[in-house]
Symmetry: C3
Subunit: 300 residues, 3 copies
């Protein structure tokens, strides 16, 4: 595939021809600034392992957090939240009814939401829940390559033979192997989510974001992201914060770029995974809109 480089060198002239997407950068900078200015509320129905980091990352990025597991709570709060986040990492038995009920309510209200299909493919309950979301699709899906491939297969969008079995919550597939699944999911979601737009973000060594038309690649970040629990989950939560102020593609690009920059800073200021997590939250708080928007972004 041909990769088009759209990084804006800090000292490049405004009309630099290498920069294919100045508009993308402006939208990213505006989204980061809007989050800081408006402190939008994003509500989460998320797993018990990383729920604290999700909330802290949403606050550090400039948003406001609320967490719940009860449909009555969630549907009440969705009226005042800019976007919601659903993460299926740890399930309780009653989620089998509660999560489809919540997704249906979001759909009825055209309320934007982000899905993190953690461990897609493992367990009959998780499969039933994720399968139900095909009727009320999210606005953004963020996961690793294995999860994106599994969700695409569950929804029957591509060739079921491409489905791979995830290694627990870790991806066993490279980001490149999920490009076709990500494109299919984004197109299906945009057509059926009632919002008319969608994005899929695939986390990996080089992250991938697509709106079903263009495919963007975001290098960078830190390998230490995989040595703490919840880097992906909290990115999903922060994506919902951005979705409260921006379109799906911009929200997915801005949050992914923010995390890559924060991960790089945290790696330089830490001596192991404990201090890395602390430094990551500090970096999410301190990064400027300009620093995020200057990230390297490649378009296929």
């Amino acid at each position: 595939m041909s990769i088009e480089h759209i990084e804006v060198p800090a000292n490049a002239p405004a009309g630099d021809t290498r920069d294919a997407a100045p508009d993308i950068r402006r939208r990213i900078a505006r989204a980061v600034g809007d989050v800081r200015g408006r402190t939008p509320l994003a509500q989460s129905f998320t797993n018990f392992v990383t729920i604290n980091l999700v909330a802290n990352a949403q606050l550090a990025a400039g948003g406001t957090a609320a967490m719940s597991f009860l449909p009555d709570d969630i549907i009440d709060t969705a009226a005042i939240s800019g976007a919601d986040y659903i993460n299926v990492g740890t399930l309780l038995p009653f989620y089998k009814d509660a999560l489809p009920q919540v997704a249906r309510a979001f759909h009825t209200a055209s309320h934007p939401w982000v899905l993190d299909p953690v461990a897609a493919g493992i367990g009959a309950t998780r499969t039933a829940i994720l399968t139900s979301f095909k009727r009320w699709p999210p606005t953004i899906v963020r996961g690793n390559a294995s999860e994106i491939i599994a969700l695409d297969a569950m929804w029957g969008l591509g060739d079921a033979d491409t489905a791979s079995r995830p290694a627990g919550v870790e991806s066993v597939d490279a980001v490149d192997s999920a490009v076709a699944a990500a494109l299919r999911l984004a197109r299906f979601m945009a057509a059926h989510n009632g919002i008319g737009k969608a994005a899929v973000a695939v986390s990996g060594a080089v992250d991938l974001v697509t709106d079903g038309e263009d495919v963007y690649r975001l290098p960078g970040g830190s390998a230490m992201m995989t040595k703490i629990t919840g880097a992906g989950c909290s990115l999903g939560g922060v994506t919902a914060v951005y979705l409260a102020v921006a379109d799906p593609l911009t929200a997915a690009l801005a949050s992914t770029a923010l995390y890559n920059r924060a991960g790089e800073i945290a790696e330089r200021h830490s001596a192991g995974p404990g201090s890395f997590q602390t430094a990551l939250l500090d970096a999410l708080w301190n990064l400027t809109a300009e620093q995020v928007a200057e990230s390297e972004i490649l378009r296929d």
Copy 2:
């Protein structure tokens, strides 16, 4: 209203006439010292977002922590805990029966407990649970202004028209707007909780504490408290630790003053919300009884 200044300057003579409440300070200092000396157990039924911080803050303040969601566990453990903490931040369906059952058992045993009515006013299940507590009222309520106003309205103590809708878990009301509700709640609780005393603490830029008679204001703390999740919840848990060794008013004042001092120290020693939380726990551990008791405390 007239504000009476009861701060004790560090070098003030013992009988300084500006200090209207040397007795309050002695009680605060004694409570802090007693917690450090006795490491009292406070048990919590609290939300999943901040449960870890609640336990760590209780330990850092000098207490011992135990967390549970099962009535059989909680009622067993209440026999050896000095006080309990209930926080309704994240609810599961079975709490609708479990929480009233637990509150009733505390009432029967005249067991002191602290309530944090997180997000009061949102969701039918939460409203049902909080309403049920009117029959078995807590010893202390700690919340933000919106939550205190909502609880007062739910219990029908004042004018229902004063109820305001909380913005998720964040307060949309100023502390001053909750003074009347806090006074009514404290009086009602003292009359009906079986303990005969009560306190209400309202968190805000300047915190407010009342026993239903006097109203105290505690300035200070740090705006970074609102940029981590769980500052309020963990203060509630620490209040229960203090309630295990002190009367309700002293427990509410001491824990609020401790948090304000710890927040100020943490802000000076941190570079963002990640390092702020770390420094907050360190400060809770290192503050002396004298430092807490020297806090600025104003009486209306």
Copy 3:
């Protein structure tokens, strides 16, 4: 009792007669190296208070983490996990059926697992669950002295009169008082767990590990371990990571030694419980196999 000193001085000749167990040290070093090299998956069904620290400690020690509460998930994932961890610290009503179902499935598959019997003796639900495990015993039990004594009594292995009531989640008994119970449990587990081997680890000022034959004592660690929540739980989770690559005795010894060394380093690099937890995770990540294997280990 006679205590045999098996510490290997760094500069001792290979055949130093004071070192009774060079084989033990080689096995510990190999286990630490194997975890770092293979990043084995250990799955956990654990409490909500410390679930995040358990996962982060497993990652920092070099393993991979997955957490779940649904039998269908857990049984699916056990097929790819090297060992599992069950911690009964916070229970929900449905665990009464789910946990015995999971233990039975592990037994049928001869799948190794670690049990942390948190607060054994408190609550009818917890007692019913822990009692059920006698039919499908774990491979390793890790707990404090009070919990080990309570589990031994629940399973009717010794003299019921020795049972003591735990003080919530804190031990009220000294490690020495649990030696007989630990030996009985380890022998019973080895005879009935379908693995043919077992170990019991008792945490305390000086930790104790036994396979039912030999009794090892591991001094060191830090008193700050008791001032954060989850030092014991996360040690249990890391023990499961080691059990994925080593026999039960080696796994229990290696993880206990790793924690003692990490605790000592963290205490030197921290100013309170907040920074202690951060430094503990960093130390788990940075310690070498040689540093862990050089730990002082005494054999009774």
